[in-house]
Symmetry: C2
Subunit: 526 residues, 2 copies
């Protein structure tokens, strides 16, 4: 239980003081969603009941079985996780928490004959760390928090080797002092670990420029119940199927990543984020497609649809002036609502200048209107705030959740429409942004907000989530672009892997984890 712990019922530091929602946002929510005037406070940590622990030993490894340790390792940070934690309905908890100090101790835990749930930052929003026992007598949370070293930095090859449990700010900090960056900034950045990101195929806010974490992995070692998988670090290879890509995204269901070699880049001298307006989401998407396909994309590329743009401006508070300005611009061009894009370039001063100039020439052709740096700065300041806001909303009786998918450029508008329609049947506020660009397509990130049905919070959430997942599958999107599969998406995996493909993955699982102790009930077990 090393490093920074989150509060049990929500995101972030237990000492975090909410500044509340801006007045304009409160008005918008009150008008469109409804807010409870009396806050519904969380149950204190000591008052959350947990199922009684089953006792077991792991020779040579210290186990914690106290209430707090078990509670803090019982779940991740999905909306249903927080509902359960906040109001004390926790069903599953680890019988013990192991905090190994070495790969040998990890292997000892795998040999204990109990279910093992690897735990990194605990930021999963898909039930990926829920302490399920499966068919086993007990379940241990394998907390990787003490395996938190930067093992080696090969500056010449731009390869950093990490232990799995290092949190992203620590990893980034160690690299920064040597003049490098991982460039990986998911919204869970403050707590997520390198191992967790790799195990879940994470993508960050600057992944259009730095690439998804998958693209950074050049070597891996994993401790599996059947033995260690140790893969050569190589920049490229034709030596058969790529085993790295089998362990990346394996979500603790095959083994525990114990060494991760990642490509890093030079720390940028300059980061320049700017706002732009487009007349419509469609027009904005066309501009992003052109940027990416013409090799002129920025590092950060994020385009809100009309609904999200409206809410963003309402939330902006201090940035109201910019919203006003944007509104005037758009009215002058005969457009009613419009869409906000945040674009960001990183690199050397000259590199940013050159790349931005290339982007601007494409943007002008596609009718983008610059809003200058102020919206970029505002976005940058608040880029990790989403999870705190969710807590504020839950306190006021509001359900807020996000989900994401990706598809080809040709299919993007249809997917946006059909997932949006599915969610709008369950939530009065549904908004979306494009968050990552690829030459062949892009991701869509949806937020949906509704008044909670008190006492039925999880059923309510499940109805909306199921509708959205079914719409994603029907419209040909991937069930997850960067949140991973976990428990929530497991029933949908076969739609994109086919049953024969899923059987192949299960064969790998049976080989590497013959007793099925690794993270039961997730990924391959729907």
């Amino acid at each position: 239980m090393a490093r920074r712990e989150m509060r049990h019922f929500g995101w972030g530091d237990p000492a975090h003081v909410s500044h509340g929602l801006p007045q304009a946002a409160l008005e918008l929510l009150r008008a469109r969603v409804g807010l409870s005037d009396v806050p519904r406070p969380p149950v204190p940590i000591g008052a959350v009941a947990l199922p009684g622990p089953v006792e077991f030993d792991v020779p040579g490894v210290e186990l914690r079985t106290d209430h707090e340790a078990r509670l803090l390792r019982a779940a991740g940070k999905s909306y249903p996780d927080l509902v359960r934690m906040r109001w004390g309905q926790v069903e599953h908890a680890p019988d013990a928490v192991a905090v190994p100090r070495s790969a040998e101790e990890v292997r000892a835990v795998l040999g204990a004959g109990v279910a093992v749930v690897p735990f990194g930052g605990g930021t999963s929003v898909v039930g990926g760390v829920e302490a399920l026992r499966g068919a086993h007598p007990a379940v241990v949370s394998l907390d990787l928090g003490l395996l938190d070293r930067l093992v080696e930095l090969d500056e010449r090859s731009q390869i950093a080797v990490f232990e799995p449990g290092i949190q992203l700010p620590a990893a980034e900090g160690e690299l920064n002092t040597r003049g490098f960056t991982l460039g990986h900034f998911p919204q869970s950045y403050e707590y997520a670990t390198v191992g967790g990101c790799v195990a879940t195929r994470s993508a960050g806010q600057a992944s259009t420029g730095y690439g998804r974490i998958d693209a950074m992995v050049v070597g891996l070692r994993a401790a599996c119940p059947a033995g260690d998988v140790d893969l050569l670090t190589a920049p490229g290879s034709a030596a058969g199927p790529d085993l790295r890509e089998l362990l990346v995204g394996s979500e603790g269901a095959l083994g525990v990543l114990t060494r991760i070699a990642l490509r890093v880049r030079r720390l940028p001298d300059e980061r320049r984020y700017e706002g732009f307006m487009f007349g419509s989401f469609e027009q904005g998407c066309e501009a992003l497609r052109a940027l990416e396909q013409e090799g002129a994309a920025p590092h950060v590329a994020r385009l809100s649809d009309e609904a999200e743009t409206e809410v963003s401006f309402a939330m902006a508070g201090r940035e109201g002036l910019v919203a006003e300005l944007a509104g005037r611009y758009l009215r002058a061009r005969g457009v009613e609502r419009g869409c906000l894009a945040i674009l960001g370039w990183e690199g050397t001063l000259d590199g940013v200048e050159a790349r931005r100039a290339a982007s601007l020439s494409v943007l002008r052709r596609h009718g983008a209107v610059s809003l200058g740096r102020s919206p970029g700065r505002a976005w940058s300041r608040g880029r990790f705030d989403g999870p705190y806001l969710r807590d504020d909303l839950m306190e006021r009786g509001v359900m807020a959740d996000t989900l994401e998918t990706a598809t080809t450029w040709s299919n993007l508008a249809a997917l946006h429409r059909s997932v949006g329609d599915a969610l709008r049947a369950h939530a009065p506020v549904v908004m979306c942004h494009v968050s990552h660009l690829y030459e062949t397509g892009a991701s869509l990130y949806f937020t949906f907000i509704a008044r909670q049905r008190e006492g039925e919070e999880i059923e309510q959430w499940r109805e909306a989530k199921t509708a959205a997942c079914e719409a994603i599958v029907a419209a040909g999107g991937t069930i997850t672009h960067h949140h991973a599969v976990g428990r929530d998406h497991a029933p949908y995996l076969r739609h994109e892997t086919s049953d024969t493909g899923l059987a192949a993955l299960r064969a790998v699982k049976a080989q590497l984890d013959p007793d099925g102790i690794m993270n039961p009930g997730k990924l391959l077990e729907a």
Copy 2:
């Protein structure tokens, strides 16, 4: 047996007339290697004895069992393959050749109860299409030549869907008429198929710019004995382990790729290839590393070591003037031998201009001396000629073969030295070039040339090959960067996957191909 066929004993069109080696090259070979003055002609196709065929039927699929069909599908184009074909020592041949007209017919062949060797262009240089029976009563060559369509081109998403058997020139031709390119130009370009490239993780001469074929695959369908694996086309996903990366590089050992969705790019308006000289291989490697890590790399980046540079200039014939010029430059700089690099930029006119300017600024900093466009044009003219030259050498009693590996930038010099040393114990001429750049490292492509030991050609080759493979493993390189595993590299695969990793791949094989009919004796069976 559709499309272009190669001559049985060597590379290329049966009607190909060799112009012979340039005078300077002959002199160099005579002095350093030895040449037979009396050419040793190949055995005519009718005189090559094949083992008698075992008869079997595939309901609904026509089988060819004539001598020519069986002979032309008996092997690929590795040096030992050609020795056997050229001098009539063929040990293994398919009992029949099936040429399915649909994915249904492919599935019928997989159900015939015989071993199946998928056959694309037949260009394997690692024994990948050798017609081995394994434990099965007979073996069929599954010729994919009639599955040769561009199924769909989604111009907006830049995704082309191909059947597996389309040859690269046909694929490129169809794309070019629509304004697109695959940008994939391996030395086997004239014959290789899209399916073969994907199944072997091919990389092309412009892969520094366009990416390896692995990076282009966005969707796949494969017919496996256990059923079809059908993977969603998505630009990016976090939905578990990446099954695409399990089928890419599966070398026909898991199933037959029947549909392949690839990212394509706009056809470039301009292709500009130029020559540069560096004072040493080390200096050149540093320049390439800087180009790639600073984001200023060209599409084609190829750097010969001192030995290859010398031979290149000797072979150049018409380009002797440039060699002379290069020599003068270098002497003026106090360098004796020097290294030749070919760099090439592709794209729009403006794009090439901008990118080349960025490259030149890095190159100047690293002491590169421009030789202008003439060496670039010469390289481009002869870029697919290597395999023809090998035939000319074999006719004159000379063994010539190539092998390749990749490693991190930090390890590149050590790998270059140790593989070179291993080969020099077996061949008087050993030369090498860097052929593909990555941010974290690069590939090395070795050529070795020796006088043949008549009657012991294959033993002689195996000694050199084994020495090189062992040196690669010992020095931490990958056993293959783009030639794939096949039969020749199979014994070395476990060094980079670990035994536990290899067991996982074998579990996938047992699941998808429970009777082990797919391409026996290759990839996972050492």
